[in-house]
């Protein structure tokens, strides 16, 4: 069976404070994350042999990063894969080490969103096929809201019932955010607040939407041999999946709009590589792409963490909370509260899984950690690129 399970290690990670970083540029954010990662790994910047750098909007190409960190003429490759950029950055960095091309590389994702001058993302259309520019230019809340509408419909949830499920997710992730010092939002909310918040794109209200944040996250990747010799805690990659689809959702009637096939396929790739047969039992924690509460709901089912059509029951039963959950989800607050600086998000998810696996997640620490999953969704809902990364102890 080909694959990279346990063939590559993460020996250090860094993550900037996420939030409205008015005093910081993309350079400041990159330096903040990289310096923490260097120091955590105990390596010098000059020891890094190659860099994979991800951003969607904050610059172009490799030099954006080499200029920021003043790397000394080593390779830097910019990766952009919509909001799934972070996982793809890590994946490419890991592949380079597994291939034997390098022994010590930096994977870093950076996004300075708040310089855009807009609420939300700084562009209107994400679809390169939209040449007439005549289709409705939906902002992300609307792109995802249509899935929530269909989910409520297919599973017989009234508006109030559906909103209550979404509110449970928002309340959970807000609660988790209060335990994350670097999270963008750090306050608890109530079910009533979430259900009665101003409408953004029906049925999604204010608290169904994630933070628009500035931030960066980084990982130092090396071979398991080198990692082992250091005698310090590290984690290894168990499996990766990336999936891009043929645009079925809008080109073919019969696509159900209550799942994302790319999530299912990316998860299958990662589970196969990691040797996971029953994810609901085997995965210890999952950081999933809760750009909207409804995205988390659908993702639970796509990843096989809930049965199809029963994700809402698990959310209602607090199955995914840190406090009493069987499978804590978005233990650091998720995109919802930790924030969503696009290029950094997949690496931020892995940062949380890394901290949990090496026992440094402080108040959020989950016991008996075996496998941490990151699910990173990019693109307009339906026209996705989805990345999954499973990490664990060596």
């Amino acid at each position: 069976m080909p694959g990279i399970k346990d063939k590559v290690a993460i020996i250090g990670m860094g993550c900037s404070k996420f939030g409205e970083r008015w005093d910081s540029s993309h350079v400041d954010l990159a330096v903040e994350a990289a310096q923490e990662a260097y120091s955590d790994a105990g390596v010098e910047p000059k020891d890094i042999q190659s860099v994979w750098f991800g951003t969607l909007f904050s610059g172009f190409a490799g030099p954006t990063l080499s200029h920021a960190l003043k790397t000394q003429y080593i390779p830097v490759t910019r990766i952009e894969n919509f909001c799934a950029t972070g996982i793809d950055v890590l994946r490419n960095a890991c592949f380079s080490v597994v291939a034997g091309a390098y022994e010590l590389v930096l994977a870093i994702g950076v996004e300075k969103l708040k310089d855009g001058g807009y609420t939300g993302l700084p562009i209107s259309s994400l679809d390169p096929d939209d040449t007439p520019k005549a289709f409705p230019q939906t902002a992300p809340p609307a792109m995802f809201a249509v899935y929530a509408t269909r989910y409520f419909h297919d599973y017989g949830l009234s508006y109030e019932q559906g909103k209550h499920v979404l509110a449970k997710i928002a309340v959970k992730n807000h609660k988790h955010g209060t335990m994350s010092p670097k999270a963008h939002f750090q306050r608890e909310i109530t079910i009533e607040q979430a259900m009665n918040a101003p409408m953004i794109a029906w049925p999604l209200g204010l608290f169904d939407c994630c933070g628009v944040s500035d931030g960066a996250a980084a990982a130092i990747v090396t071979t398991p041999e080198i990692a082992k010799k250091r005698g310090k805690d590290y984690i290894t990659i168990k499996g990766f999946g990336i999936s891009c689809g043929p645009k079925e959702h809008i080109l073919r009637q019969g696509y159900d709009w209550v799942h994302w096939e790319e999530s299912v396929r990316a998860a299958k790739q990662a589970y196969d590589e990691a040797g996971v047969k029953d994810p609901r039992k085997e995965i210890s924690i999952a950081q999933v792409h809760d750009c909207f509460t409804s995205t988390e709901l659908i993702t639970m089912e796509d990843l096989g963490l809930s049965k199809r059509g029963e994700g809402w029951k698990d959310e209602e039963a607090d199955f995914f909370t840190l406090e009493k959950g069987g499978l804590p989800v978005n233990t650091d607050g998720g995109l919802k509260c930790f924030g969503h600086p696009i290029g950094a998000t997949g690496l931020r998810m892995t940062y949380e899984n890394y901290k949990q696996l090496i026992g440094k997640a402080e108040k959020r620490q989950v016991k008996d950690m075996k496998l941490g999953l990151a699910h990173n969704l990019g693109g307009a809902a339906g026209a996705n690129v989805i990345g999954v990364a499973i990490v664990g102890r060596p």
Binding site: W22, V31, A68, G116
Partner: protein, 467 residues
């Protein structure tokens, strides 16, 4: 006694020959380049004034103009930031009147006399637009004047000041008007200019217990080159012996900066003990009597009016002038428009962009613009001393003339090296493209790079050194 501590001025390098506007015109008027406006000229005059002065004693900056780039948003803060004044500097804009410059001076005098500020820098700048074909188009020039008002070490004491107001609509622009309007000229001269100026002049002389004969130099605002003689006679001054040359043939009427600029010209020639009468106009008049002290000779190194007037290039081409004022739409290269400025980034980088601060590495000494987080030479993180580059000498390292630039064809672009370290890619303005050479000495000048989405975007450009 409160008075003028130091002064500076700015006259654009470009002059438009009045013959180029219409046959029969005489002399030249100073014209702002396409990338200049009241803000950039005020900064240039401020830099001239502060080239040999202490910034830290300045507690206030007043900006005066009838042609502020913003209707709402303070411009004095922008000028103060570019001039690298402290954030605690009091700032205020004076506007809407030709008298705004001298009104700001009076407010500054009151502040320093009351002890609420040690020194206040007053920067007045204007670039008023006359409709093509109008006499305003012939008469109006562009420029800026700066006075630092203080209560100690003054070069000229203010012995008396006096103001009158006159509710008259003589010369005006309504909200939304691009061009100056005026009522019939005999009325506006008789009941506006001559009446108010005479009233203020006699008032201030009376207050100072002086007669016209006691005045060494009368510095008088004038709508054009001729009216000042009429006023001088009425007020009792000898137009030839006593009245300051209004520079009508060399510069033109520079609006609310005009009175300040003429005063700077007079101060450049003044000797200790000289008594100067100074009067401005605009819905009334502000008049002052000043006496030069033994410090009047300081500031000879500044360009002020004389050196600025001597350094020029005459534009013989009226069409280019119309293009610069956006009065003649022109085709442009098929290139993306500039813009998309981020105001949050602009705010974060305000000292770097507006006061041209770079950083000097404390470990290896490399000067870098803008300041980096990690030193480009020795990779040390976060050990920099801020260094202001705009008053350093500079020279061309390499250059090109870019014919694909979306705004200026061609745009001369140069890699500029600063004395003492620091390198920057800058546009070169106020230049003749084929005169640029590698190694050519340059200086930097604050300019408007573009205007998009309601935002005036300012930055530094290089210019050949003005003599």
């Amino acid at each position: 006694m409160a008075g003028i501590v130091s002064y500076g001025a700015y006259v654009p390098w470009w002059r438009l020959s009045r013959k180029a506007i219409a046959p029969g015109g005489s002399g030249e008027k100073a014209i702002a380049n396409w990338d200049e406006d009241s803000v950039t000229m005020a900064v240039a005059a401020g830099m001239d004034c502060l080239s040999d002065a202490d910034r830290n004693s300045i507690d206030g900056l007043y900006f005066a103009s009838t042609t502020s780039p913003y209707k709402e948003s303070q411009v004095s803060t922008l000028v103060a930031t570019a001039l690298d004044l402290r954030e605690e500097t009091r700032s205020a804009d004076f506007s809407s009147s030709l008298r705004a410059g001298t009104s700001a001076v009076r407010a500054a005098l009151d502040a320093v006399s009351a002890g609420s500020a040690r020194r206040v820098l007053v920067a007045a700048a204007d670039c008023r637009l006359g409709m093509p074909g109008s006499t305003f188009e012939q008469d109006c020039g562009d420029g800026a004047g700066v006075l630092v008002i203080g209560n100690s070490d003054v070069a000229a004491e203010v012995v008396a000041s006096y103001s009158v107001n006159n509710e008259i609509l003589d010369v005006w622009r309504a909200d939304g008007d691009q061009f100056l309007r005026s009522w019939e000229d005999r009325f506006i001269i008789t009941k506006g200019y001559l009446r108010s100026m005479s009233q203020a002049i006699s008032g201030v002389l009376k207050q100072a217990k002086l007669t016209p004969k006691d005045i060494t130099r009368a510095v008088l605002y004038t709508p054009d080159g001729r009216r000042v003689a009429e006023l001088a006679k009425e007020a009792g001054f000898d137009p030839k012996a006593q009245v300051q040359d209004p520079l009508a043939a060399a510069m033109g009427n520079t609006g609310c900066a005009y009175a300040l600029m003429l005063l700077v010209a007079a101060l450049e020639d003044a000797k200790p003990g000289d008594t100067i009468l100074w009067a401005s106009y605009g819905n009334g008049s502000d008049a002052f009597v000043l006496r030069a002290t033994d410090k009047i000779g300081q500031g000879k190194g500044r360009r002020a009016m004389k050196k600025h007037l001597a350094s020029k290039r005459v534009l013989e081409d009226y069409r280019t002038y119309l293009q610069w004022r956006r009065l003649l739409p022109m085709d442009q290269p098929r290139r993306p428009v500039m813009g998309n400025i981020s105001l949050s980034a602009a705010w974060r980088e305000r000292k770097q962009n507006l006061a041209m601060y770079g950083g000097k590495c404390q470990v290896c000494g490399t000067v870098q613009y803008p300041q980096q987080r990690i030193c480009v030479s020795c990779q040390t993180a976060d050990k920099f001393d801020p260094v202001r580059l705009y008053d350093k000498k500079a020279q061309v390292f390499t250059y090109t003339a870019d014919f694909l630039d979306p705004i200026e064809t061609p745009q001369v672009t140069a890699v500029v090296d600063f004395e003492g370290g620091g390198r920057c890619l800058l546009a070169v303005t106020d230049r003749v493209p084929n005169e640029i050479k590698v190694g050519m000495p340059l200086e930097v000048s604050f300019r408007k790079v573009f205007f998009e989405r309601g935002i005036h975007n300012y930055f530094w450009k290089a210019t050949p050194v003005r003599a």
